[in-house]
Assembly symmetry: C3
Homo-oligomer: 355 residues x 3
C-alpha cells in the first residue's frame, strides 16, 4: 500500500508545499521517521526536528512558519494531530481487521445466525439462539453464550467471553480475556455463618461504540429483565471491575484497574483514573473527574467536580492537606513547643499575680 503525498493531502483536505509526488508507505514520528514515511508536527516542542527529519512528508498546521530551511514536503492542515490520527485509522482499516471467513474447527450451536463479512476464528464457540450482525470479527477462543445478540462491525478479540443473554451494539471492540456477564457477587448470609449464592439472572448490555479492555470483567444484573448497562461511547481500559447492576453513562472513560461496586450509577462524560474504587449504590454526576486511586464512598451530586483521596474530596484541597500531612511530625513538634511555652507563661503570670 503506497500513496503519493498529493493523494494523502487530498484525503486530509490539506495543501502540499513541496514535492507532491513523494511516495509514502508508512507512518512515523518526526524525530525518527525515515524516507517513505509521513510524520506530523503539532507540539511546538518538536519543531526542531522538522529541520532535520528524514520523513518524506510532515503534516503541519496551516499557519506554520519555518524559521530555517526545510527539505521535507509539507502538508498544511487545520489540525495536524487529528489529521495524523485519521491517517492511522485509514491505515489500520486497510491493513488489519480484514480477516474474514471461517477457520476450522469452530463451533456454532442450533438456531444461531451470523451476518455477512464475518470472521470466525478457529476454536471460537457460538452457542444456541445467537444473533450476530454483519462484519463482526470473532477471533480464536472467543466464547459466545446462548441467546447473545451482537450488532454490526463489532470486534471480539481472542478469548473474549460472553455469558448467555449478553447484548452488544454496533462498532464495539472487546479485547482479549474480557468477561461480560459473569455472576454478580451476591450472597445471603445464613445463620451458621455460611453464605448462599443469590442466583444472578439479569444480563449485560453494551451499547454502540463501546470499547472494553483486556481482562476487564462486567457482571450481570441480579434480577430478570435487569441489566448492567454500558452506554454509548464508553471506553473501559484493562483489568476493570464493573459489578452487577451498574450503569455507566455515555462517553465516560475509565482507566485501568478501577472498580465500580454493585448498583452504582456513573454519569456521562466522567473521567475516572486508574485504580479508583467506587462503593455500591452511589450516583455520580455528569462530568465528574476522579483522580487515581481515589475511593468514592458518597454520591457526587454536583456536576463538574474533580476529586481525589479516600474518601475523596476536592483535588486542590486534597493536595493542600497532603502538603501539611508530609510535615505532620514538624507540626506536632511545634505544637509541643507551644504547650511548653504556655505552661511557662502561665507560671510566670501566676508568679506575677502573687508578687
Amino acid at each position: 500500500m503506497q500513496f503519493t503525498v498529493s493523494q494523502i493531502a487530498g484525503m486530509l483536505r490539506g495543501e502540499v508545499r513541496g514535492n507532491g509526488d513523494e511516495k509514502i508507505s508508512m507512518l512515523g514520528k518526526i524525530q525518527d521517521a525515515k524516507k517513505g514515511q509521513i510524520a506530523f508536527l503539532a507540539n511546538p516542542k518538536y519543531e526542531q526536528y522538522i529541520y532535520s527529519t528524514q520523513a518524506s512528508a510532515v503534516i503541519v498546521k496551516r499557519n506554520f512558519e519555518a524559521r530555517k530551511e526545510i527539505t521535507t514536503t509539507l502538508i498544511l492542515v487545520d489540525d495536524p494531530y487529528s489529521s495524523f490520527t485519521l491517517l492511522l485509522e485509514e491505515y489500520h482499516r486497510a491493513v488489519s481487521f480484514q480477516k474474514t471467513g471461517i477457520e476450522e474447527p469452530c463451533f456454532i450451536g442450533s438456531n444461531s445466525t451470523v451476518g455477512e463479512g464475518i470472521y470466525r476464528g478457529a476454536f471460537s464457540y457460538i452457542g444456541n439462539n445467537v444473533k450476530i450482525g454483519n462484519n463482526v470479527k470473532i477471533y480464536p477462543h472467543v466464547f459466545v453464550g446462548d441467546n447473545v445478540v451482537i450488532g454490526n462491525d463489532t470486534i471480539l478479540h481472542a478469548n473474549v467471553k460472553l455469558y448467555a443473554d449478553t447484548k452488544i451494539g454496533n462498532h464495539c471492540v472487546l479485547h482479549s480475556g474480557s468477561v461480560i456477564g459473569s455472576d454478580g457477587f451476591g450472597f445471603a448470609p445464613q445463620e451458621d455463618g455460611s453464605y448462599k449464592a443469590i442466583p444472578q439472572l439479569g444480563n449485560v448490555v453494551l451499547e454502540d461504540h463501546v470499547v472494553i479492555g483486556s481482562n476487564t470483567v462486567i457482571d450481570c444484573a441480579t434480577l430478570f429483565g435487569d441489566s448492567t448497562i454500558i452506554r454509548k461511547g464508553v471506553k473501559l481500559d484493562n483489568l476493570i471491575q464493573i459489578a452487577h447492576n451498574v450503569e455507566i453513562g455515555k462517553n465516560t472513560v475509565i482507566a485501568a484497574q478501577a472498580g465500580i461496586s454493585g448498583s452504582s450509577k456513573i454519569g456521562e462524560n466522567n473521567i475516572i483514573a486508574g485504580q479508583v474504587g467506587i462503593a455500591g449504590h452511589l450516583v455520580i454526576a455528569n462530568h465528574t473527574g476522579i483522580g487515581a486511586q481515589a475511593g468514592i464512598s458518597k454520591s457526587i451530586k454536583e456536576e463538574g467536580q474533580k476529586i481525589i483521596g479516600y474518601p475523596a474530596f476536592d483535588v486542590k484541597e486534597y493536595f493542600k492537606s497532603y502538603a501539611v500531612f508530609k510535615r505532620l511530625p514538624d507540626l506536632n513538634d511545634r505544637l509541643r513547643e507551644l504547650e511548653k511555652k504556655i505552661v511557662q507563661l502561665e507560671k510566670e503570670q501566676q508568679a506575677d499575680k502573687i508578687s
Copy 2:
C-alpha cells in the same frame, strides 16, 4: 415453565391472599413487574408500589397490613427476601446449568475419568490422570491440567484454567478466566542483580462450596506437598490475587481486586472489601472486617475488629483522623497564629518584668 400462585405459596410455605390460580412465569421487581411476574416487598421504602404494581403476585411479610386497596395477589411468608431468593434459585436450577453431554471437538488425555451427568463443552481440555465427579459442567475453552481432582456438582465456566495437581471440592463455581495454580512469585536474587525463578511445586486446594470470580488468580504453593488453601464456603469476587501458600478461612468473603500476598493466613468469616491489599506472612483473626482499599501490614490478633487505612487501624478512628486531615491547612494556620501570639505574649511579659 409456569406455576400458579398457590403452587409457589406451597413451595414457600406461605399463605395466599387473593387469586391462587394466577399464572406466574417470571420474577420481577415490584416497581416494574408485569402481569405473569411475581415480586416481593421487604423494604418498607417500597411499600407505595404494592398499591399500583402490575405483578400478578407479591410476596410480603406475614404481618403486612395494607393501608390502601391492593389488587395483586399476596403470598404471606416469614421472610419475603429469603423466599424470593429461594424462588430465584429454583428458577435458575430449572432453566440454566442444565447443559449435559459432550460437544465436539473436546480433548481428554489418558487415564482420566469423568462422572455421570457431565457437560464437556467444545474445545474444553482435560489432561492426563484427571478425576472428575458427577454433574460437573465444563464449559468451552476450560483447561484442566494433569492430575487434577474435581468433586461433584462443580461448575467451571468458559475459559477457567486449572494448572496441574489442583484439587477442587463439591459444589464449587469458578467463573470465566479464573486461573488456579499458576506459579507463585518467588525469585532468588543473584549477585549480578538478576533473579532466578524458584520452582513452584505445590498446588492449590479449593474445598466445597467455594466461588471464584472472573479473572481471579490463585497461585500454587512453593514446596511439594504444600498447598494454597481456600476453605469451605469462601467466596472470592473478580480480579482478586491470592499468592502462593495463602490460606483463607471458612466462609470468608473477599470483594473484587483485593490482593493477598504470599503465606498469609486469613481467618474465618472475614469480610474484606474491594482493592484491599494484605502483605505477606501475616495472620488475620476470625471475623475481621477490612474496609475498601485498606493496606494491611501487620497481623490482626484480636477477633472482630473493623479496620481501614494504610497501614490500617480502627475504622472509626480512621475517619476521625481523616476529618482533621481535610482541615489540615486550617490547623496549620491556627498553629502559626498561636506561635505569633505567644511570641507577642513572651515579649510583653519580658517587658513587664523589665518595667
Copy 3:
C-alpha cells in the same frame, strides 16, 4: 526418579555426613518431611527440627555444628538455600515442562515455522508468518497472532494471548490468561463529547528471561515501529497493567495488581510492590523501591530511594507523618486547648496592663 544422597551431594558439590546410599525421591520441609525426602536448614530458627526430622537427608551449612544427636544424613554445602533451590529446579526440569509433540486439533496458519522439541497443545492457535524457536511449549488455548516471533525455551501456559507482531525472547515464561499487545488506551476527544479511538499500531517486545504472571496485560505501543518494551530479566506478577509505550528496565520486579500508565520509563532493578500505581510519562530511576499501594505522580530522579504514599515520598518520613495522622483528633484538641489558654493569657495580660 530417584537419587542417592551421594548423587545429590555430587550435584551440589557438597560433603556427605552419614549414609550416602539413602534413597531420595522427593523434596520437603524440615519440619514435616518424610522418609525418602530431602530438606534444608538455612534459618537458625528451624534448627530444632533437625534433631527430630524424618527426612532421609538435610542440606546444611558447611560450618553447621550439631548441639544434639542427629539421625538424618547431612549434606554440607556453602549455601543450603541456594542448593535446595537448585534441586527444586532440577526436579522441576525433570518432571514438568517435558510435554512435547502435537495434540490435535491445533491450528497453524500459513508461512509459520516452529523449531525442534516443541509442544503444541490441543486447541492452540498459531497465525500466519509466525516464527517460533526450539523447545517452546505452547499449552492448550494459547493464541499466537500473525507475525509473532518467539525465541527458544519459552513457555506459554494455557490461554496466553499474543496479539499480532509481538516479539518474545528466549527462556521466557508467560502464565495463563496474560495478554500481550492489546490496544493502548488512547482516544481523541471529539467536539460532541464522544471519543474516537486512536489506532494502536506498535507492538510489544519481551526480551530474554522475562516472566509474566497470570492475567497480566501489556498493551502495544501507539505508533508503527514503536514498542512497549520489557527488558531482560524483568519479572511481573499477576494482574498487572502495563500501558502503551512503557519501558521496564532490566531485572525490575513488580508485584501483583500494580499498574504503569502510558509512556512511563521504569529503571533497572526496581522493586515495585503490589497495587502500586504509576502515572504516565514519568521516568523512574534505577534501584527505586516503591511500597505497596503507593501512587507515583512525579518522576524519580535520584537512584536508590524508597518511597510510599500518594503522592509517594520517603518511606520513613511517610510512616512518621502517618503516626501523627493517627493522633490527629488529639492534636486538634490540644490545639483548641492552647487557643483557649492564649485567649485567657491575653485577657489577663490586658487586665494587668490596665491595673
